[in-house]
Amino acid sequence: MQGCWGKILSIDLSDRTVRTVVPPERLYREYIGAGGIGARLLYDMTGPGTDPLSPGNPIIWMTGPFTGTKVPTSGRHQITSRSPLTGIFGESDAGGRFGTALKRTGWDGLIVKGISESPVIIILTENEVRIEPAEDLWGKDTFETDRIMKERSGPSCEVSCIGVAGERMVPISAIGHDGENARMSGRCGFGAVMGSKKLKAVAAVGNMETEVADPARLMAQQRKMVPQLVEKMKGMHLLGTAGGTAAAEKMGDLPVQNWRRGNWPDAEKISGQVMADTILKKNYYCASCPIGCGRDVEISEGRWAGVKGAGPEYETLGLMGGSCLVSDLEAITYAADLCNRHGVDTIEAGSAVAMAMECFEHGLLTPEDLDGIRAEWGSAEALVALTEKICLGEGAGKLLGLGVAGMAKKIPGSDKFAIHVKGLTLPAHDPRCFNTMAVGYATSNRGACHLTGASYFFEKTAVMPEFGYEKPRPRYTEGGEALMNFHTQNLMGIMDSLKMCKFTIYGGVGFTEICEWYEAVTGSKTSVEDMALAGERIFNIKRLYNVRLGLSRKDDVLPERILTTPRNDEGTGSYTPDLEPMLGEYYEIRGWDRNGIPKRETVERLGLDRKYF
């Protein structure tokens, strides 16, 4: 089949062995690519005893069949590993250009195991694989690392790298791409996995074009869909994801004061509109994307001068802004820039600072605990100072860098201030606003994740007519939350495996369009049913990975604050979600038993017990 090279590179840094893995074609048919194949590989390569920071835990970069083609928004890749932050299944997607560059070297993906004795960089070109010393890069931030590698290997060299946070194995550290354009693989603490292997970076330079089965058919689809995407996604182009900040506050979606209250009029001060009028310089486009939602910003004067690069996304504004009550857009941008440079998840960092502020309010943390920093609500200074400590893994940063679940273990009495599911903090979407997110967060395989199912899309403007959702679901519709998540999780798993940006769903892309593109690229016949089944399979292999670690219904929970504390705002009133009935219904739809374990017949129906190697 076209769209893939049919081979994956595998490197063991302990003994520097390099080998080519040639999976059977049915792996690509059944798990599609990227997120699907990454999950299957992780499941097959590890056991429940594989420590996240051990040599035996692989970190897997995978592209999909769409990566490197002209399918719009296909310039993405997926990273999969066991998470050192949560201890469970982890995955993190990123846009930008690295995925395309990796595909252009002639590999569908890269598996890295083992631990190097000293810092190294892996360099992939069309013709060779090199493992080179990286002592001179160790200690450099992600922007500098990218710049140096482009100087050495040419402007088309793209880099997936860690900063100091990853080197020091900060549990909430991230992996950066695209230099100062900072397309981050933020979630799950994968910077620490690279750091544990002393792997500073993977660099990819290549020119190989992905072969497409039916270029004329693909071109015809392009001509139809790209103008539609550009028109429908105009808001994203003009304002980025930040454009939704003020609207989210009005609706009751934006986290405010560590999720404990509702309205916050200051949200307007940190919106995409204000960004566009002040610090925005230009748009940034990921590879193959016509939308250009990325923000290139600059702050050249004032208290927070020195920022030049990616501006904050909605999630960052939610957790570093609303959740901390910080309404200084430039301070948030500065803090986010620190995270981008040093390689830290802004969602986890913002949430950790918000929790620290709440602990400070209640006397559970003192200025002495925080290196003299007064973590007061709304303090931009505290946000930046604490973020810097997290990034460097120093002082109070060692505590906050554990993430909120880790902080709760160290701070007696702070459990209720730790807002997470399975150790991953909630992103900036509230299940008290979009009630389908309740079962979505509780069942997401990597922990609280808005993109595993992204059901809130379908409570806003998105539709899925293939499965009966002809119109967006009105908020607070009673019933059907479980079924909606079943369908949306399957769809998102497919998008993560093909590699397409999920924002295209707002532009009218769904199962039908995906099937057309898949056939044009791969030459393989498919159908909506086949794709949905593959999505179901992919979701379940990730669940099985976690079940093997001992996870079950007891872990499919939501934070107490979300379940019991209404926001009491205009958008959500006194609503709190009732998770238990949703969960029971969800398990039944998924073919799982009452404990959330996939039943034998489900495992067999989806072929989850097949072997591929």
Partner: protein
Amino acid sequence: MELKIRPEYAGLYGIDVSLMPMPKVGESIRDYVKRSGLGKEEDILPVVNGRARPWNYAFSESDVIEIFPMAASG
């Protein structure tokens, strides 16, 4: 002054475009939306002369106003 309510917005929220009044010169976007019954602020992306505008932006005679559905947040 020109007002274009995008069909994707009108279709999504059931707006009869023919019934929408024109904005007034000097009127803010916020006030216009309230007066016209166009919808909720959180659902609307107002674009004036090709740029997204804040809610307190006051219309001018030569403005070309487009109403889009609000982009999703991330």
